[in-house]
Symmetry: C2
């Protein structure tokens, strides 16, 4: 519970006060996510972001002191989103199949708008200074959620953390790959991904 509303708002040069400027800031962040996902960190330039947002470059620097502050804002928004998705899927004590279905649905939803944003944020975008901490804390909570789910459906106490790691990265891999091929909506893929999760958590000892 408790969807955090009072965000520390990242590092900003000044707070937007009027509705107009709030929309501008939102447009910049959204466009930033788009550029980052589409062109990668290499193609992520402040000028491009401003243009994609339909806003002049000056407006961008009115609110974000530099490029990194902008990435941090994008990162924060995306991570909050993903975390809440896992949270919701793992809430209550649902049967395994339902959990898997909801998790798949949610994760796909979280990645269908900016398909490769997650990967870019994790792999390419730099994490100097303060964002390293936020980064690590996200990773930790991310794994925690998965570990909780694993513990919930597996009796064995051993290897829970490793299993969480394997499970999460496998899911990410499948989704990332599907996104690159524009197959995120294919229902048979969603079904198979669900099967993969169930099978792994059911833990067949079959030879």
């Amino acid at each position: 519970m408790s969807t955090r509303i009072a965000k520390p708002a990242a590092r900003m040069r000044k707070q937007p006060r009027q509705a107009r400027s709030i929309a501008t800031v939102e447009a910049i962040i959204e466009a930033g996510a788009h550029v980052l996902s589409e062109l990668g960190w290499a193609g992520f330039s402040t000028n491009k972001v401003a243009e994609a947002a339909g806003v002049s470059i000056g407006s961008l620097y009115q609110y974000f002191p530099d490029k990194l502050a902008l990435v941090e804002a994008i990162r924060r928004r995306h991570f909050d989103h993903v975390l809440s998705v896992i949270s919701e899927a793992a809430a209550d004590e649902k049967p395994l199949r339902q959990f898997a279905r909801e998790l798949v649905r949610g994760m796909i939803g979280a990645h269908s708008i900016h398909p490769t944003l997650h990967q870019v944020l994790l792999d390419e975008a730099p994490g100097d200074r303060g964002s390293r901490a936020a980064h690590a804390s996200f990773q930790a909570r991310y794994l925690e959620h998965y570990a909780a789910a694993v513990a919930q459906y597996r009796k064995r106490r051993k290897d829970t953390e490793t299993m969480a790691r394997v499970l999460s990265s496998a899911i990410e891999g499948v989704i990332h790959n599907a996104a690159r091929r524009n197959m995120l909506d294919a229902p048979e893929l969603q079904k198979q991904l669900g099967e993969l999760i169930c099978a792994y958590l059911s833990g067949s000892k079959a030879a």
Copy 2:
């Protein structure tokens, strides 16, 4: 069978004839793979590659007409390697567990030297002109191999292709993720990845 030896050698400005120049070309390709894996496509500059290879920039352009020809050479070498790994693991008719073990071992081996090369090659590096074809053909053969394995251990004829896609991208995801965390050698991770493969291919119908 038939490990192709006669490579068309990609697009090259001229063929190295003496042992010296062959070593130079090899060093360039190897350094290129290293730079690509370490800095990504964004940091992949011909000057950096030459320096990393301990070779002057002029030597690089003596054999590779341009940047793209170099990437093509790197790509070809890596893809050949990966393909042969899958080939070997799927050869003969081994029991499922052994196949999984060997596949995991081989794939990890193929990625432990240049951990993120595979992803960079697939995601970031451009595929203009002729390399698009090679790229597609690699993807096709890649999936074929996996599909063959899936068909071998699953009776159901349906969804074989989708399963191959899910399986391969899940494995890639886990390995890529582990590489980023320097956990490629962790034995419990290798074991769990094997378990994931077995569980999925065994196909539990458990609720």
